[in-house]
Subunit: 227 residues, 6 copies
């Protein structure tokens, strides 16, 4: 179960309202690569990890991501709370105001509501951890975009901290991915999938290469007309 | 921020696998009236409540609902974890297996992924609390449906407890709704909306009644052809 | 069945184009708390209401909401119909123009298409009526937001009238909710759900309180760091 | 505005419950090619039709489709209302029961909620009428599928009648499409789009044909490996 | 299978960045009436066409539409690639930047992600071809809207060419629709649906006309209050 | 541009109808981890890869995935084409029949329509390639689930081949990921993101650890109550 502690995981004290920034940051809350997707991804995957180490890692990072969700909510709230109607109009948040006034709602920056289709669970530990590593990389990239979009140190501070946490989580997931991969090669049977032979004979005879080349040659071929 | 305690809020120990029940219970996790929608609804609304009492109530119930999410996850996991492929096919969970094996994923009982459109935030405390009261009533109704669908006391126990929590939350939200409503009548100006005059003159002259009757008569009129 | 009468339920005669207002008002047509969601919500719920009074009330208000849908369509159409391409660009309706020219389409103010996930039906009369009361409160709140966003009396007039209708509908739903609740306590058996004992013994022994406090104390505790 | 008449457009009196049929028919209510999509499609398109004839045709058929929605609701309700829990389980409606008990809800046969993305409005009368003709053809096809799935004359009767109405509507839309097309050729300027020259010179020189053939030859070429 | 040829189907060489135009054009890539929907629509329908001519036509046009998708991707990319952050903000593409930087993503102009609900497949060749004719008309209309929104000949050129292709495809689909319709009248039994008698007797006695008029009279009646 | 070659990339010749298998395989076409998502993911990402090698790799694999889409379409079609109505009912494909007859449509195994939210594009080459590696792992896992669900060698053959292709693609994406990562460390400036200092000082002083432990200790802690 979860309990609540009356503090944020990292302090957020934004003094200057900035509605456009509120609009951008919301995507890291309720958007495709955001913290809500991350928290739910790990909260779902943890139960089918093959050992306690995996269950614990997913559980702990899920808990931390819930704290990140709250930090982003707080950032959006502080950036928006003192705005006048005129300022909301100028920032393009009038559409948000019509439906939600100044209340929070998990969407991307275009106002598209959060959906669980942003994340996947497969029950395969390697696939789930690859998904998690990707999630952390994508979140890192979005934090960098968000940092590009502001000059306010009160906003940059928490964003930099959050970005750094993604880097740490990525490293943890990678460690576990490689650990599971090794066990698999050693024949450890707690990992039910992935041991199938590579079926090289399947690549012979029946396979039609793409574009008139053999596949290996074709990969890395130059492709420059749309630059 | 949230911290994790290594126990469930109420114990779940299901000994008998029951895949159809797993399929039903998942809707109270990731479906329209489920606990994930509830937790996110309150986690979003809390910040724009007009006073500390409101913020705290929403915050605390949001935290509890996260624990309910985890209980439901555990129920689904325990009901499903020892199933054979044949049993999954018979229970109609083969479609789930193809995509997720036995991993959890927040959907309704038909497999439709969770979406934030299941809940609303308006920034108006009375509207938000009415939404919350409705959410608790709907969750109560779904728990009753779920209890109808099983005979296993290990499943009924946690469901009854969860249903009871919805009844308690409903009472708390109602209390606060009525408290805010009273303040509004007393002219308390911390509630920004709802004080507009009833504009009775707007109801005269221009209004076209429905169905040839006056509106008041028409309401409650008998309508029995489709029974 | 429905028949059509060649008038609007309340007259709409907007003389001044206002594209931003068109963009806001559309949310009360096709958005989360809008009239289309309301009409469909009641049209679906009516058939499983437990008596004729309930069926009729839902049916009649559903019919009226269809008329509100049409009023909002008319408002959006009139606000937009004489706009030049330049004006559409300035108002942020160029995205709408690319796909729909000046045709209507039911979305929220961000352009997210209408979805039935905005409303719920449970077959439980108390849960359904609580959902309906919430719907009317939310629609009232959005009308107040919309009124905030304009100064044109030709726009404010119909919005005020529509808001007032929500207040009336809320009162009707509340009346019926309380009537059904009473019948339930009297043991009336036409209401199939909700009679289950409160299961107080479930609250003892097994329950882990949140945050180190008893639940009752914790509710209403102060929570002020994110203000 | 719409008013309600206390009868169905065509009588529905189904005496034999049939839950699987309920599950199929719901798609013609809330699915991709269903009557709710049709009613909303026409209700949106009518306002931007170029003349009164177009506005009236769309308006009237929209009104009729609302009556079809109600007929389908009644069919689903009657097919389902006397079912036991066991029967709901056997028919695969247990997933519906968990969330909705026996209440109606607009989905397709898989339980996917209705979305406005099922229909389009373009503001171009020829494009909108082509969309409408397609809608009527698709609805006709689904009615034929539904008729294939049952032997009950009480169910077939209304389905046949509804199918026939789609044939009539298709004919009306086609008439109007051809009428507008003719006006366009005559240079009538109430149709703002479609007069652009065919730009034949654009087809010369720069165009890369698909598959090594000229486009005209390639069309209709045989393609039979996946039969 | 598909192979790739290192050229665009029609050349795209846009020299002047134009971010608003990038935002509009994306809808013809990932929006409701766009080329991705078209390509997938035909790629799905082709397999159940009743003869080789139908299969080939759908297959070839599907292949061409994939090339159109790529042209639109290239247009969006070229219009956006040299933009500064400030320019992205002014054009309202800052919301896109937060999530995607300058990467492509298939949405409509409001940023709503592509969904397969934009198109339908029925297995009925007449219904499917009517859907296809509508798709081509709608795409034509959107291209005309897009051409309205720019003055840059480098942008207008490819848009005009693409619009022209829709006109050609519409003609091909119409040809095939009429061909299949004729076969149907001749009693050709490769078309399984649509031969059902018109059931005229179903129209007598039981049918309640809309609005107090006979249906035929009512169609085309004047309806002018909302102009 | 794409051209079409009249063969499948790998032959599909299924002689025995198997409707449940058709229902499972469709998820690898239109589901969350499927080939359509893969093809579109790479087709979007390719244009913002930082060099020709990256553009070419994404382009070629996108093209191949389009061929996989077609193979899966063919498998679903062959598994379903000779089914009777009774067989469709038994296999739970009656819901599909009501809407689509035997036509293809891209959904997951529960019938949820394909959505672009299944994949992400960030414009950051490392994040995009991590997403791609995850996609290949997830697709591999789903192919293994599908192989578990059948005994027909005509079905297993193509599935094994497709699974093997995912393994190859994963290796290619990993190679490129590591290549770009190295360039980044060498200060190559064609990669615009990710060079930000780790901001270790951000981890001191202000950070509240989760659950009373230091973060490092907490990771990997045992968590075993829900097993």
């Amino acid at each position: 179960m979860f309990s609540y502690q009356k503090r944020l995981q990292y302090p957020v004290n934004i003094k200057k309202k900035d509605l456009r920034m509120a609009k951008y940051i919301v995507t890291q809350y309720g958007g495709s690569n955001g913290e809500l997707a991350a928290a739910l991804r790990y909260m779902n995957q943890r139960m089918t990890m093959p050992d306690n180490k995996g269950k614990a890692l997913l559980n702990d990072i899920a808990t931390e991501e819930l704290g990140h969700v709250e930090m982003l909510e707080t950032m959006v709230y502080q950036l928006m709370k003192d705005a006048t109607l005129e300022e909301l109009k100028e920032a393009g948040l009038d559409a948000h105001y019509a439906e939600h006034a100044k209340a929070l709602y998990p969407t991307d920056s275009n106002g598209v509501p959060f959906t669980a289709t942003y994340f996947a669970t497969t029950g395969d530990p390697l696939a789930d951890l690859a998904e998690d590593m990707a999630a952390e990389q994508k979140a890192r990239a979005v934090y960098e975009n968000l940092i590009d979009l502001t000059d306010d140190p009160d906003v940059i501070g928490p964003l930099l901290w959050l970005r750094q946490r993604e880097v740490v989580h990525y490293a943890r997931f990678k460690e576990l991915f490689e650990d599971y991969q090794k066990k698999l090669k050693n024949g450890a049977n707690e990992l039910p999938k992935g041991e199938m032979p590579l079926m090289k004979e399947n690549l012979k005879g029946n396979f039609y290469p793409i574009g008139g080349d053999t596949l290996v040659e074709q990969l890395y071929m130059d492709n420059n007309f749309y630059r």
